[in-house]
Symmetry: D2
Amino acid sequence: MNNRHILLMDGPDHKGLIYHVTRVLFEHNLNIIRNDEYVSPSGYFFMRTEFEGEADPDQLLVVLQNELPQVINLRVNPKKKKDVVLMVTKEHHCLGELLIRYAFDELDANIQAVISNYNVLQPFVSKFGIPFHYISHEHKTRQEHEEAILRTLDIYQPEYVVLAKYMRVLTSDFVKHYSSRIVNIHHSFLPAFVGANPYRQAYERGVKIIGATAHFVNDDLDEGPIIAQDVKEVDHRQTATDMATLGRDTEKLVLSKALKLVFNDRVFIHNNRTIIL
Amino acid sequence: MNNRHILLMDGPDHKGLIYHVTRVLFEHNLNIIRNDEYVSPSGYFFMRTEFEGEADPDQLLVVLQNELPQVINLRVNPKKKKDVVLMVTKEHHCLGELLIRYAFDELDANIQAVISNYNVLQPFVSKFGIPFHYISHEHKTRQEHEEAILRTLDIYQPEYVVLAKYMRVLTSDFVKHYSSRIVNIHHSFLPAFVGANPYRQAYERGVKIIGATAHFVNDDLDEGPIIAQDVKEVDHRQTATDMATLGRDTEKLVLSKALKLVFNDRVFIHNNRTIIL
Amino acid sequence: MNNRHILLMDGPDHKGLIYHVTRVLFEHNLNIIRNDEYVSPSGYFFMRTEFEGEADPDQLLVVLQNELPQVINLRVNPKKKKDVVLMVTKEHHCLGELLIRYAFDELDANIQAVISNYNVLQPFVSKFGIPFHYISHEHKTRQEHEEAILRTLDIYQPEYVVLAKYMRVLTSDFVKHYSSRIVNIHHSFLPAFVGANPYRQAYERGVKIIGATAHFVNDDLDEGPIIAQDVKEVDHRQTATDMATLGRDTEKLVLSKALKLVFNDRVFIHNNRTIIL
Amino acid sequence: MNNRHILLMDGPDHKGLIYHVTRVLFEHNLNIIRNDEYVSPSGYFFMRTEFEGEADPDQLLVVLQNELPQVINLRVNPKKKKDVVLMVTKEHHCLGELLIRYAFDELDANIQAVISNYNVLQPFVSKFGIPFHYISHEHKTRQEHEEAILRTLDIYQPEYVVLAKYMRVLTSDFVKHYSSRIVNIHHSFLPAFVGANPYRQAYERGVKIIGATAHFVNDDLDEGPIIAQDVKEVDHRQTATDMATLGRDTEKLVLSKALKLVFNDRVFIHNNRTIIL
């Protein structure tokens, strides 16, 4: 698929947007494999076009920019695996899911390294031949700890940072370095149980369904745009601990699903919501 | 099934509770059809026993009370349809679902009447030959309005009051008259979006799943014990209005499911949670 | 929405199909509200375009046919409610669901009449002021019975015939009159349990999930293109009768969902499969 | 939990069965933690009782056998991890899921070894320090191959054999050695698409839901008692290959769920169906 490309486009809707793009691709002898678009009720336009053929992305971009309104955002990327760094704490379930998918080439990403504030998962990660950076938060201020992480990330220059059960809050300063490029899995069906110990909260409230949420991270940790969610039925027999155990399967699959969407350039962010094409 | 009975029992756990109950039923030549029990992590015991045979519930109760610790709550009911009054405002979907089930004898209940603060659903209810009481809240204080409703309920003496999309908050005073006997359907996956216009909230938050919750009503309207919940997947294409439309199917089925459990004496309430046996 | 139109188009894929259509709409000053397309792995192209503006569908069709390859099928329809006749036997659940949606104007269709081979549902249908035709199959050959039904359908000239639990097999001769225009709800998760008494089969096989399937009817009754399916979890406690009861909720919602798609011109049929845009 | 035990009991229903068992446990000063029972419509009784305390299982069994009808099957087991051998071919997803759960002590089982007819998964298994036996089927008759596997199994004497995507049919002779002790994951929502290439069949039939089935193996490979099933929604955009990819997540979770039930002694087999308590 080395001559597959993805065109991403969003901005205020104008008559003829699809027409102008498809015309340019037609004139360049490029074949549309899949085209998806969406116009929001407020009149904002989104389009993802997967096409095939001999193309110079930069030159194509210039042609398109000349044909389209200035307010339209345009990107043309070759279709390829994303470089990512994972961050974890002590839990293995999301990490294990991602490493196995990676080991068998099913992740649409290249895992460059794993960073953790504990070293408990080091032996497990080493089975997969991936660098593991143990960066303890002990005896460090929050700022010092985050700077140490940022220095490590700088080595890899990842396109995305995945918080695969990284259990420390990140500051706005940290998040700014990877704006709209950090994906988190939240152990709750947001916005139901924000904050610590959501399964305890779920148990005490006696809910009949628990869930998990994968989202981009912005300043307000649990409030970034939601990418994917899923749920599982529970009943009174499940304790908070049982719910946590059950929740892990949901968490790992929701995170995997969200990453598949993100790594395939299918996710737009607009007004703190995701548009998935 | 006129010699079917249901024994309900709950209290602090003691060794031998199941043994003593099954012994008494055995000695009275009664046959257990189904027996379910549950002990909470905090050591509270719940049991529902459905049995068959010639039984005098009152006499059986006395025998059991003599054999069991004083702290155990015991009820023995003949298995029968419950008397209920429905309360609605303007939306028809939950009402329609319940009336059709009732019309074809699938509800395990006898709908005695429908009460509404609007008269828009009167023609629809009249198709089913059920009394409709239009009790407007206009030109009345909240107290006057609720007293008018209570007077109407007094005529019917229902065992349960079902809020099938009754869109006004009820006061504690009202709720006290039917403690643990009012079932509400909430247009949200509680506790996610408490309050008005949950589908608008869900849309703006960009959630990927919406839901509905059936619960008992206590003083704090949206905080009573949850009986049943269900969800439906949505995506960015759904507007808040679309979500409301989609949500209605979930609401009506969740309410139906919850009522089936309640009307069959399968729901215990304990510490603001439900135990469903 | 009286100047909303829907363009449907399918045929072998060619470069520029989207471009040519969007150009014509652009030149006619028509605004695309929603556009969906799909190309099958075998290279067959499908597109549904919803657009708005002053348009003469017939004239537009001519212009488009001149621009596009001869092998492309094209239709341009004003967006409007479909005329339908329902056929039922004795079960009320699907019928009740459709009548209530129709009564409150949620069906995207005009129910012209109900035809049944029994008269048990006549009182129920009459509540909704819809003509009910009781056409018994007794003392008639299959051919005579179907001809009587066809004569009644001829009065209404429906665009779709909906088998809402019509429990008699239809002959090829009958089906030909409404080719790709008869929708059936099948009481099974096809292709699992074809034939009579699927819930008994499901019980005996000890399945943990039951389902329902809405599909177009072709010559081979249970083998037409599937439009929608859904499932419900069951366990060993459910008898075949319980499964049938549970299955009804699934059936009615699956049929409703399928009809919404069909009535909104979202379903293409190709090689006995549906493409839903 | 070293003084936890599980009592399993099944046979024709008699009045007083629960009473007699709970009496014996009461008299032996044993505390019931959880008790579940079920009586089938045909009058067959099943009970699983988890209890705690100082108990001699063998002596308890004798006492119970004296109190209960001869036709009742009784087992009393200490609650403990099961010994299992996995059999695989080339696919890693179910194996990976089980190995990770095992590595983090979440499987309720001790994986003694992995047997495969290919050696492709050897490097992966070796990461987890578990013996891998490569027993090729090439240049062997079916009988010779199965005998070689049986000799290897004899070394381990496992309580259960798990076919975690073992893609060869086993003969009746083989199955007899581990009657009701072989669990298979079937890549289909049985009984929908029995046989080879179910995702191709699902694609061609245009189904909207695919699934997976975990079941015990009996003589007729795909016809043993079903333990667990789950499904996932698909649409026309998924190719048969996409469906297979999607199906793998369902397969691994369904197999995990089934094994959790089996390893916790919660599954009875009766008339080719499972009763799960």
